[in-house]
Symmetry: C2
Subunit: 664 residues, 2 copies
């Protein structure tokens, strides 16, 4: 039944202009057009097919990724794609590869930490991919605590070289993507030692492999660290292990923008302010929040379409059964995730703005907003990645048994996504940083420090400690300022209560350690407030398109009411709301679910994902799920023969009771 | 450094008799001894090695499973293992295989639904594995709603046969384990049609493959449904697809214990009470709860040992860094899961007793406890599997980056475990059944019906609606009867509030549908109460062993206080506790974490898992994590050559800017 749209009924129900929503989702008409064009280019090119990825053994999988990466680079050059287009192309190819680290970490890091000459030298090679680089920070024994890294870089004034060395087993570099099999170069983090003194961890550019035959250079031991979670997924990436046996590099391979070692081995700080480093960090974390909304929206798109196709129970007089999307339990699990996808999208958009703002300030030597920006990006990184990882798995469960098949796309999406909770800062470590920032903010309130940005609400602490929520009937929960105040009050009261309990400890560090689990909850409350407030701010903008703003309002309401219900304990314990108000919020939530229901499929259509990018039979655009599942099954290698390999040796002797003599 | 125990310090800290705890965990000295002996037998036999499972392509993986299954069966016969020992052996082999369905579903189902003659005929073949059977219920289009299955079994009086047929694509059987490549027979569920009338879904024994050459019989189309979540994991199982094209089976292949079709095509109910079916269901769900505690304890064992090995931050004067298990955030995520493992273990033990009790009553024609037993097993199935799935992933995250490696064992454990949330009753569908039972119970309270078992507390409704929690200081939360009352009050009040709101609807079915998401929360409250009360009851028994009971008390406290904190919103909204009491509970929780901390490693040692069964480098008994991780990395197929396959075709031309002519 090719050509039939099984979801046409659903699409006809939509009460808003889907094309206009597509622009809102993409961020601008321009962004939409680029995305649309590039995603179709990728989808229509058989060289980028990925249907068999989850069935491939590791070596074949990896070789195939090498092919795609080379092919993509060829395309980028042939079509003379802009930087924006090229990065979209890599995005829609949708396969982790060494190029991610080359473009996403190696290049930005040299930009951020290299001197002008260093940038000129290395970036011109890197931009043409005449060298391939990775980012080698983490070690077998050290991750979160970067200051604990053990690799050493000892300056030898005799030869004007650094000697890079791995003194222990635990100092082996471990995890860097692209390192295992591909990278020719790495930014290596090591403790700088010169003149018999140690100066902490610094970055060095180290060549790892010959540019002629790709053999590791003398003293370099390098390999892949082995299989990771899931089929396909991150196994296309060669996360690597690396050991140095007294490897020598020229002195000027140390990245010297912020500090230098002179010819005679003196360590010197440069006059470039170190705070500039944070710019890169805000940039990287901003992209992580964007990625969260992409991954989440993909999962939600699959689960929503399939929930409209899937029917179970409720048949009356032999008619069709109920679409599972009509069950309130299904809605109460799915629609908050749909709303979260939009919420994270707008939070990401705002972070992009924040990055520009921070960069401009840094250039003007204004560091005043840095601590707030830093806390805020760390917190949103943690919040959005944790929520997205959980949401993907929930979407998989929402698809019942069929969600467990690789052809549903959800297992691979989960497996490839979850490390975002760990890399670029373990999510709990991130929240502890936010908590520290909050405690510091509270403790300084007395000094009348001016608070800006996402922490400005603390300036109204007196009011927030006392205010009473005015909600009297369910619809009152539609009032954005009432909602904001409740979220602000909760966050403020949790922080203050944490600070008060901290003050009972004579040693504040001990107190922080003892109360850390509670303080992390205050940090979460603060971060949720940020996402809610950015969603509400978005709705205060002019948003064109028939019915578009109404839908976004409903989604915004679902997002904050869902949080309010999920964290009811916080809101009640801090007396921000009453049990009655909590119950009214829940009533409104159900109404909003009903409002979103007829628009659900159109709301995921607005993501404008191709079937190629989605990579899911359950989520396919036309909803022709069953025929496609059935056809796909027969492609499994196990179906190459009707009688399986192993029948003669293991099944037949068992059935015939002849195992006694069998060689097993 | 073979032979060094890196966790010796931790083991020395333990304040209780670990050997005595092992007996408590196993359930009895006998159970411990069998487990201990069989797990070592498996661990020491290289034929059962599983280190390379996650690296194997599907066909190789599957063939290897066939080998292990045959080998295991040979061992079972050679060593003349008892049924208990044989099933332990399959458990410790730790690899999903067709034998699970043969022994776990096919055999029990024939036992439950076959007549005496049918049992004699089929079981004697099945017990010797001269036939291999599976359980074919689910279809491509129908899972949860068994009554919606489409496969037909039409009686043909001319030949005294049933004609089994798949009338539509969606009627294809889909999912049955062991079906795809191995089973020779299946119990097939189909709509029985005779005399032009339909009599609903019944079970039939259908031969699928020739016993001579394993070819599918005429009219049978059968194959594997393809890759599932994860590497290794459930891909060792041949979940299958099956279609019938008018396949004929003798009339007596219908399982006729409860109903029959006579020679002349008349449908007749037998006088065996249908309720007996529920016995099997209680049995199967009871094993699922046991499995939950096994999977959870495994994950917790890995995360606990690794958290004691892993150090991060906090080094003072060049000394070692802090073990991450000493961070309160780590404890507050890990120790509740450790406590849950014990809680589920005892809940499982109690369910075993419940099964015996129900069986005895059924034999005496006493069906009075069935609804309660049914709701309770459905609820505990849902509660324990959902919590376990989430917990495994949390344990993976607790291991930071290294948890993402397959050698950590956690990715595969997660992937192989999660379908337990879906099979044997989707967890939400299960909770909806519990909710229905609760609403019915409340509505019948007025009629003074005697309430027994896990619902007995509802008999004290008047008191529970009014009681006030007496806790005044943190330690008051150690009082079991205060705790029980609070959990009972919360569950009762949530049910009553649901029932009250239901009564506002004129159509109760519509009301139930509309409020279902809230009612599911009441069901969860009821199920948590059951687990808490069974843990508390366990502690009222005599438990030998120095310090053992003290540890269990601490774990029990952690379990209920953790629930109390997590669901604070419920407790506060129903006014079961005050914010002050909630905060005191949290204080006690932290104290209990400190109490458990020195015993943590010993508490997971008490599970008595071999390194083979655990299958995790991070969780290995001796804690020698880093050397083992490093060595294991080099075994990845990608490390067979230093320069990767694909270098000449894809990397070199890219570096040399020669992609123009390259064939990609
Ligand atoms: C897929 C993937 C790709 C990666 N790519 C790269 C790469 O390209 N380059 C690179 O250099 N690295 C890379 N990494 C490594 C990554 O950056 C680290 O894994 C990450 O920083 C987490 O550190 P860890 O593994 O040491 O975790 P750990 O810090 O050891 O975490 C273990 C546990 O300890 C807890 N913990 C740690 N410190 C504290 C504290 N102070 N207080 C409370 N709790 C604490 C954590 O919350 C966690 O529960 C990658 C990792 C993965 C999984
Ligand atoms: C690994 C694995 C092994 C299996 N082995 C076997 C086997 O050996 N033999 C066999 O016969 N089957 C087997 N199954 C199938 C399994 O029993 C079904 O997948 C399971 O019963 C769930 O049904 P479903 O897939 O139809 O989910 P669905 O019912 O389609 O679930 C989809 C969504 O709808 C929701 N939903 C459904 N009904 C309702 C309702 N009334 N109210 C509210 N929400 C609802 C669910 O909560 C879920 O979110 C297996 C499945 C798996 C994953």
């Amino acid at each position: 039944m090719a050509g039939v749209d099984y979801l046409a009924d659903e699409r006809n129900k939509a009460q808003f202009d889907v094309d206009a929503m597509k622009i809102v989702w993409a961020g601008s008409r321009h962004a939409f057009e680029v995305s649309d064009r590039i995603s179709k280019l990728v989808a229509n090119d058989p060289a980028f097919a990925k249907d068999e990825r989850t069935m491939m053994p590791r070596k074949e999988l990896f070789k195939n990724t090498l092919r795609k990466a080379a092919y993509a680079w060829k395309k980028i050059n042939e079509l003379r794609l802009s930087e924006e287009e090229a990065s979209k192309l890599r995005f829609y190819v949708d396969e982790p590869a060494f190029t991610d680290l080359h473009w996403g970490m190696f290049v930005p890091f040299i930009k951020g930490q290299g001197t002008d000459e260093q940038q000129q030298k290395w970036l011109s090679l890197a931009y043409k991919m005449q060298i391939i680089g990775c980012y080698a920070q983490t070690e077998l024994g050290h991750g979160s605590n970067v200051q604990g890294l053990e690799t050493t870089a000892t300056f030898d004034p005799q030869t004007d070289e650094f000697v890079i060395h791995s003194p222990t087993l635990t100092s082996s570099k471990w995890w860097p993507g692209g390192l295992g099999k591909v990278s020719t170069h790495a930014v290596v983090f090591a403790r700088l030692i010169t003149d018999g003194k140690e100066y902490g961890v610094h970055g060095f550019i180290v060549q790892l492999r010959s540019l002629e035959d790709h053999q590791p250079l003398p003293g370099v031991t390098v390999g892949d660290i082995g299989m990771k979670f899931g089929n396909g997924a991150y196994n296309t990436m060669d996360n690597g292990v690396l050991r140095f046996d007294h490897v020598r590099i020229p002195r000027d391979h140390m990245l010297m923008r912020f500090s230098q070692v002179t010819r005679d081995g003196k360590y010197k700080q440069s006059d470039v302010p170190r705070q500039l480093v944070y710019g890169t960090m805000v940039y990287v974390r901003q992209t992580i929040v964007q990625d969260a909304s992409s991954a989440l929206s993909r999962a939600v798109c699959i689960a929503t379409r399939y929930s409209a196709v899937r029917r179970q129970f409720g048949s009356q007089n032999g008619g069709p059964e109920t679409q599972v999307i009509d069950y309130k339990t299904q809605q109460s699990r799915l629609f908050p995730l749909l709303a979260s996808a939009y919420a994270f999208r707008f939070a990401g958009e705002w972070l992009k703005w924040l990055y520009t703002d921070v960069t401009q300030r840094l250039q003007a030597n204004d560091f005043s907003t840095l601590p707030e920006a830093h806390a805020c990006t760390a917190g949103l990184k943690s919040l959005t990645t944790s929520a997205t990882a959980d949401a993907i798995e929930e979407c998989r469960k929402l698809c019942g048994g069929h969600g467990y098949l690789c052809t549903s796309g959800l297992p691979e999406l989960f497996a490839v996504y979850v490390p975002a909770c760990t890399y670029e800062g373990d999510n709990i470590v991130m929240l502890l940083q936010v908590a520290r920032f909050l405690m510091k903010t509270v403790s300084q309130l007395a000094f009348g420090k001016q608070l800006t940005g996402t922490i400005a609400y603390m300036g109204r602490l007196e009011h927030l400690m006392e205010c009473r929520c005015s909600v009297q009937k369910a619809e009152d929960w539609l009032n954005p300022s009432a909602v904001l105040e409740v979220f602000e009050a909760r966050a403020a009261r949790m922080s203050v209560s944490g600070a008060q309990r901290l003050s009972n400890f004579t040693n504040p560090e001990e107190g922080f350690a003892e109360l850390s689990a509670d303080l992390v909850e205050a940090a979460v409350a603060h971060c949720q407030l940020i996402v809610v407030s950015k969603f509400i701010e978005k709705l205060q903008q002019d948003i064109p398109g028939q019915g578009v703003k109404e839908q976004l309002k409903a989604l915004c309401g679902i997002y904050y009411l869902y949080l309010l219900h999920k964290h009811q304990g916080d809101f009640l314990a801090t007396s921000c709301i009453t049990p009655k108000q909590a119950s009214l919020a829940n009533d409104l939530l159900r109404t909003l679910y009903s409002q979103v229901r007829p628009n659900a499929v159109a709301l995921v259509d607005a993501f404008n994902y191709t079937d190629h990018y989605l990579g899911s039979i359950l989520g396919c655009y036309d909803g022709n799920v069953y025929a496609k599942l059935y056809d796909a099954a027969w492609k499994d290698p196990l179906n190459e023969s009707v009688v399986p390999d192993g029948y003669q040796e293991f099944i037949r002797p068992l059935l015939k009771r002849q195992l006694g003599n069998a060689k097993l």
